[in-house]
């Protein structure tokens, strides 16, 4: 039993209040107990804690450890450059933390947008006197005075009403004002006409209502609570980055410890071993990976913006590529939201709207014109799209028809019909239009060819088959009826008296054509293994017909209507949701969050569209919440991850394509970055195993990881979508970013080729300089510095070949179009300039302990670049052949 079921007197008793309102001291007491009537954010960790968290996740802890070891090494064994290393690692941690925090932190603007929908001042009755008080001071039991234009401050039960109409658009998305009354209502609480909900607006009439829920306990507060408390969790990419960093840290740690122990075994000193262990660990940690991923996502979001998809959170860029299910609205997203009346059923036949100017069809058009709240003014039709379409059709068929409207029984979501009464030269007529299932039971007669006949079962069947035929054509169908009214029946007539024994006239079918780009976009989704679930307020036949027309379904889809949905438990719904083709019809936005939650529980990556205030929780819950840029409310936009600037479904599919490309590109540049870890690590192995001078210093490693590698890696992040990207199924949750093939290719193929080049360069310079095996060289020795410079330069120039190799793991770089990614050339140019600065400037030499090398050293290293590219082409060719054979 809820408050809507009680009579007015019982309502007052239940809330221990009276018709004259609460006493001031009781209101104060209740305010202290129930708290202020305001929207507040669900409690979250303080901002500072969220910022500090960026310094304590796993990768950060590993880097902190490395920095601490570096500082300790510098303190105990100065002069090895460990201080600079420690500072560089600390800088990496701070930059990563600030980058990530800026991405994760978003001011909670959705709640701010919600708060704007509540009033500041309200009129209440207290101690018998009308008072204007601050809305936050409303308490349960307060009598709220409602007049036209008022925003309702709290959920309240009407105890008095006079023609009160409330617009629920802010709460339910329903734009048509709802007539309210104050009698008990035995049905659903949310559908009850005697409840006035917080955040809605009084359109006309007046009334009094008793507040029974305030602040966060109102329906509006419930939406606010869900919007601020619900979190989608880590994005698939964020999860993958966590996994990847753990794998890399483990590899680096184990390798470091292994060689530290090996050094002891072969008799090296503790400090030599220690510096070596730190060095090899640093070499294997890709410090530049996170900033590169972030920048790559940022570039992806810019590309999406150019395709009319505005991304609000960077991680969403890749999440889009992982989407397995898109839950989409129909009207305005799949269709044009451009309603047109196209077909009419009268006299037992369906005819085209152009032929509707005579006979019964003319009478139907008259109702369509008069029983209508849309207007034609200044050359434009204004009003609800369905009513506008009817008015346009009627005007085009019959011209203007002025008539005095005496009375109106407004449309509401429960009745699903409206009635108007008009005066015509001495007679009065009631005109009704609405849903057939509501209107037909109220009709006892039917007009056929001007004659009024009893509505016999056969005719009843005929109407139903016409209704089904129109809906099967994807049309939204409205029924029309009329009745002569006696003077006695006005003005105190009740809706039930007027809307009975009516004469059924016919049906009109309205078409909302699909957007032209949608069928192709849906075809792409099917090819890409993405399921599309339509969630619409339309009836199931209309929804199915549209779905069939746009290629969304092929066979007989499972359709679930709102009332059945409400009756199903989670287990039943999950079973239905696992079916291939499913449509939700006669649904309201409040159902969306449950659909999204269940799909997520089933392991799907879900994108959902929404535009209304009560779509906000579902938009927050989904992996990707997509708000409509044109028709969406501010609340929906603030709660979403992506805004469609053109409200078009095809734009979602374009964004998915970009998202998939971004993931592929991330894999490309991770291969590129990881490959350079091997030539960074091998010199350390040689140093300890071969007892040679260290071929590559720690700072030179950082010059590659955080300097020269960055821009070419970013250029790989901007590769265009490959033709096959939307022809493969969504990435499985078990697929790893750091997959075994990727690691093998980077660490055991590309990396060793680069390592061979860098060791060759190092030894060649030493050999040319007359170095003899076993001779120790101090760090300041010019020959030694030239040799390490050659080693570093070898990495840089083989990475130039590597960037081309990494553009695809299987396709030849020449088949991709060698010059098709211009950014790669820009990245390489910057890479070369940086290396020249490091090698040929005094400050570069001072910081990185390098020395200028002659041109012949570069020339001698060139063949390694070509060899790497050739080896990769051969590997790709073999890979393609194996793939084809297996296929």
């Amino acid at each position: 039993m809820k408050i809507n079921t009680l009579a007015e007197k019982e309502v007052l008793q239940s809330l221990v209040t009276s018709e004259s309102g609460l006493a001031e001291n009781e209101a104060r007491r209740r305010l202290s107990e129930f708290g202020p009537n305001e929207i507040s954010e669900a409690r979250k960790a303080p901002l500072i804690a969220r910022f500090l968290k960026q310094f304590t996740h796993f990768l950060a802890v590993v880097l902190w450890l490395a920095a601490l070891l570096s500082f300790l090494s510098e303190y105990l064994h100065p002069g090895e450059g460990m201080l600079t290393l420690g500072l560089a690692i600390t800088a990496v941690i701070i930059i990563n933390a600030v980058f990530t925090f800026m991405q994760e932190y978003r001011a909670e603007k959705a709640l701010e947008a919600l708060k704007k929908l509540l009033p500041f001042q309200v009129k209440v009755l207290r101690e018998g006197a009308e008072k204007e008080i601050h809305a936050r001071d409303i308490v349960p039991g307060d009598i709220i005075m409602l007049v036209e234009g008022d925003k309702i401050p709290a959920d309240a039960r009407l105890i008095e009403s006079s023609g009160l109409k409330v617009n629920h658009a802010s709460l339910t998305g329903e734009s048509e004002p709802q007539l309210r009354n104050h009698g008990p209502f035995p049905g659903e609480f949310m559908e009850s006409p005697n409840i006035a909900f917080a955040g809605t607006t009084v359109v006309s009439g007046s009334g009094r209502a008793v507040a029974f829920a305030t602040g966060m306990r109102t329906e509006f507060g419930r939406i606010a609570h869900l919007t601020s408390a619900v979190e989608a969790g880590l994005s698939p990419l964020q999860k993958e980055i966590v996994r990847a960093t753990r794998v890399v840290a483990a590899i680096a740690g184990v390798v470091g410890l292994f060689f530290f122990a090996l050094g002891f075994v072969i008799g090296r000193s503790f400090w030599d071993n220690f510096i070596f262990a730190v060095g090899i660990t640093v070499a294997l940690i890709p410090e530049g990976m996170l900033p590169t991923v972030t920048l790559s996502l940022s570039m992806g979001s810019q590309r999406m913006a150019r395709r009319k998809a505005l991304i609000k959170t960077l991680s969403s860029v890749e999440t889009l590529g992982s989407v397995t299910v898109i839950c989409t609205d129909k009207t305005g997203t799949l269709t044009q939201n451009n309603m047109t009346a196209t077909r009419i059923w009268a006299n037992g036949t369906i005819i085209d709207m152009r032929d509707a100017s005579s006979g019964n069809a003319r009478d139907i058009m008259k109702i369509a014109y008069l029983c209508n709240n849309a207007r034609f003014a200044d050359g434009h039709y204004r009003g609800d799209p369905t009513e506008t379409a009817l008015l346009r059709a009627a005007r085009e068929t019959l011209g203007d028809m002025p008539a005095e409207r005496l009375f109106e029984i407004p449309f509401d979501a429960d009745r699903k019909m409206m009635t108007t009464i008009h005066a015509f030269s001495g007679t009065r007529q009631a005109f009704t239009k609405g849903a057939l299932e509501k209107l037909l039971p109220l009709c006892s007669q039917i007009m056929i060819s001007g004659a009024i006949l009893p509505l016999a079962p056969a005719l009843h069947e005929q109407i139903l088959s016409a209704y089904h035929a129109l809906m099967d054509g994807g049309l939204r169908v409205l029924a029309f009826a009329s009745k002569d009214i006696n003077d006695r029946e006005l003005p105190d007539a009740r809706a039930e008296e007027i809307e009975k024994d009516m004469v059924f006239l016919g049906l009109i079918g309205l078409e909302d054509p699909p957007r032209p780009e949608v069928p192709e976009a849906i075809g792409k989704c099917h090819g890409a293994g993405i399921r599309i679930i339509m969630i619409t307020g339309d009836g199931s036949r209309t929804a199915s017909a549209i779905a069939r027309e746009i290629g969304l379904v092929r066979g007989d889809p499972r359709t679930i209507e709102g009332p059945a949905f409400n009756q199903m438990n989670d287990r039943e719904l999950r079973e239905k949701l696992s079916e291939k083709e499913i449509i939700f019809a006669r649904m309201t936005p409040k159902h969306k969050m449950r659909v999204v939650s269940l799909l997520k529980e089933m392991g799907e990556v879900v994108a959902v569209t929404g535009d209304g205030v009560n779509d906000a929780p579902a938009l927050k819950k989904a992996d990707i919440g997509i708000a409509m840029g044109i028709s969406g409310t501010d609340v929906a936009k603030e709660a979403s991850d992506m805004i469609l600037l053109d409200d078009n479904f095809a734009t979602i599919v374009n964004a998915v394509e970009e998202g998939r490309t971004v993931y592929e590109n991330i894999k490309k540049f991770i291969t590129y970055i990881f490959a350079s870890n091997i030539p960074e690590a091998v010199p350390y192995l040689a140093y300890i195993l071969l007892r040679i001078p260290l071929p590559l210093t720690i700072l030179q490693i950082l010059a590659v990881d955080l300097g020269t590698d960055m821009l070419p890696a970013l250029a790989l992040g901007s590769e265009k979508p490959t033709p096959g990207v939307m022809k493969q199924p969504p990435r499985r949750l078990t697929d790893r970013l750091l997959s075994v093939p990727l690691i093998l290719r980077a660490y055991l193929f590309l990396g060793p080729l680069e390592a061979a080049a860098c060791m060759f360069g190092f030894f060649w310079v030493l050999h040319e300089g007359g170095w003899l095996w076993g001779t120790a060289l101090p760090a300041t020795n010019i020959l030694y510095q030239q040799a390490t410079t050659a080693c570093l330069s070898a990495i840089i120039i083989t990475q130039i070949a590597n960037v081309f190799a990494c553009r695809s793991s299987r396709e030849s770089v020449f088949s991709l179009g060698f010059f098709s990614n211009k950014l790669i050339f820009a990245g390489i140019a910057v890479e070369i300039v940086l290396q020249l600065l490091i090698v040929y400037t005094d400050w570069g030499n001072a910081i990185f302990a390098t020395a200028p090398i002659p041109l012949r050293v570069w020339i001698i290293l060139m063949p390694f670049t070509l060899a790497l590219l050739a080896a990769e082409e051969l590997r790709k060719k073999a890979s393609r052949v194996i793939f084809r054979t297996q296929a």
Binding site: S32, E33, F34, G35, A213, R222, R594, M602, G603
Partner: protein, 279 residues
């Protein structure tokens, strides 16, 4: 199980709403219903009048639904007096409403609610009233811990509440996500989660079945307090019934106390039960 149920009344409206729950529970369990008002020595006359009026209304309601009722008015320290009445009258269950400041103070420290739950020798149900429009709860959310103490009383209480209001029960268990070092969070489907149902919860569901209660059950990973309030808000439950926290002060300090979180953010009325009947 409950033969005598006492509800503490004060000058606040929410104590009357809490007593209505107690009254309907009395009706369903065939118990005698007691109301008591303990006036503080410095309380103004208006408080006394308010509480007296509430007790009268409850008395009338009890008569109307055929529950034997008795009202007691005393002066003194509320906790000591309620304890004395509970012992003297052999009360099985005491209902008391929580105050808003209870929800705002950590660990209810220094509140009457905390004192009642600690010092009363019988079972205690603390009621937080936040929504006065859902008069008879038809959907009750019952979040359960993995280990349930006094399971028999728990099952009885939920069954009688479900009978009293003809309500559907949604048993809910929030568990820690399953993680592996190199894998991160492991995603399990609802069916897989159901296989991990804690033994006490399975026992509890069996008992509900024996009592003929219609229920649904759900296991979900996440933060306990937040998951409960989200579930209650998303599914529009009318009432949450959960156990009192058994976390120590220290563990509550370091890891948040879920009961406190729910008390603060509950979207519907909340009953926190501290059962004391031995199984």
């Amino acid at each position: 199980m409950y033969k005598k149920i006492l509800s503490a009344i004060n000058e606040h409206f929410n104590s009357e709403v809490a007593a209505r729950y107690a009254l309907h529970l009395s009706k369903a369990s065939g118990a005698k219903f007691y109301t008591c008002f303990i006036a503080g020595k410095t309380d103004p006359r208006s408080s006394f009048d308010k509480a007296e009026a509430a007790m009268k209304r409850l008395f009338v309601l009890a008569e109307k639904i055929g529950v034997p009722a008795e009202s007691i008015t005393e002066t003194g320290d509320p906790v000591a007096e309620i304890r004395r009445i509970a012992v003297h009258e052999n009360i099985d269950l005491v209902f008391a409403s929580t105050r808003r400041e209870d929800a705002e103070r950590r660990f209810f420290s220094g509140t009457i609610a905390r004192s009642l739950s600690l010092k009363i020798p019988c079972s205690v149900a603390l009621v937080r009233v936040v929504h006065t429009g859902r008069i008879h709860p038809s959907d009750v959310l019952v979040p359960l811990k993995a280990r349930i103490g006094r399971i028999q009383e728990w099952a009885s209480f939920i069954s009688v509440m479900a009978t009293a209001f003809n309500a559907k029960v949604h048993v809910f268990h929030v568990t820690k996500p399953i993680t592996k070092f190199f894998h991160g969070d492991i995603h399990l489907t609802p069916v897989e989660w159901e296989k991990r149902i804690p033994p006490d919860m399975a026992d509890f569901l069996d008992r509900l079945k024996k009592h003929g209660v219609i229920y649904e059950s759900k296991l979900t990973p996440g933060a306990i307090g937040r998951s409960i309030t989200i579930e209650a808000a998303a599914r529009r439950h009318d009432l949450i019934i959960m156990g009192a926290s058994e976390r120590s002060l220290l563990s509550s300090l370091f890891s948040r106390n879920p009961v406190e979180n729910v008390l603060r953010e509950t979207p519907c009325d909340l009953i926190i039960l501290k059962p004391r009947h031995e199984d």
